[in-house]
Subunit: 164 residues, 2 copies
Amino acid sequence: MISNARSAYQVHDHQRCIDAALNRARQCCAAANARLTPIRETVLLLIWKSHKPLGAYSIVEQLPALTGKRIQPPSVYRAIEFLLELRLIHRIPSLNAFIGCPFPGSEHSDVFMVCRQCGSAAEVSADNLNQLIAETTHKAGFQLESQTVEVSGLCLACNPETPH
Amino acid sequence: MISNARSAYQVHDHQRCIDAALNRARQCCAAANARLTPIRETVLLLIWKSHKPLGAYSIVEQLPALTGKRIQPPSVYRAIEFLLELRLIHRIPSLNAFIGCPFPGSEHSDVFMVCRQCGSAAEVSADNLNQLIAETTHKAGFQLESQTVEVSGLCLACNPETPH
DNA sequence: GGTAAAACGATATAATGTACCAACTTTGTC
DNA sequence: GACAAAGTTGGTACATTATATCGTTTTACC
Ligand SMILES: [Zn+2]
Ligand SMILES: [Zn+2]
Ligand SMILES: [Zn+2]
Ligand SMILES: [Zn+2]
């Protein structure tokens, strides 16, 4: 089981998250012989600005401050599509928003945990859970190819019952 | 483990699905002291026309044929909201579409299995899976309140490896 | 340096979802 | 039945999310 919940939901050196994400992105792009162009990199950085899923139009709004020029929705969606394909980011369907993947490269299927209070999201990947999902759906006659698990609730920081 | 996959994906007497859904809806409404008005009932029937998730605007398009008059998006969304609250239908976030719940009333958290070939969806509810999701997220420090699990793949009917 | 592929800019538009307010219907009470 | 309150619907406008299209620019490669 791997998860970025502990860091994502608590006070931490987020610059390290950002730096690590950017390094991994460069590695992944090199490995895939893909180009991390300025727009794509800036979009990735914006998404990594926090651990809250970010909508495409928020990106459109925030890009001029970083690039100096207005960038239209299609360009942003193209960058998002690129980042999704390389699995550098994930889409959270129920939010129509995107979040950086903390462990791209490693094959994993995620559970996204979205805090209803603070809006932050973390992911956890657990082999036994994925296996049980595969088994359960297989028993129902379904041949699983991909999965999306979203849970909503209270994160570490927002749960009053959690000792800090 | 309960599932409607066997019927949903194969040839079956779908009129029975529809009749059963309508009966359960009447029961649920009576129990909740809620009113299954003509619009709400018609929207529910349209959603139950098949086992394929149906978008809100498809409903808007198809309603005039059943009611004789045009019904605007807000009215459709209100009906959908009502049906969602009574858990007579579910929303499939990745499709922006809605599907009838085959077992409302009984408390359950579902896995939605959406066939990428034929578009049909079925649900399976398994206690041990729900429990494992709760455990896994709990270990990550998350207090789960609700969940959505979607899997994509091939259904019984569309999987060439399935003996029919 | 010529060429093909990839990426980007720009405009328009599609698809999904909601805010708002007026009008109508049902329900409960007198 | 008359009335008030709550619930439901009609209708317009608008907000948000996403994509189609096409011409231009940049990059990669020989
Ligand atoms: Zn961080
Ligand atoms: Zn939180
Ligand atoms: Zn059926
Ligand atoms: Zn199928």
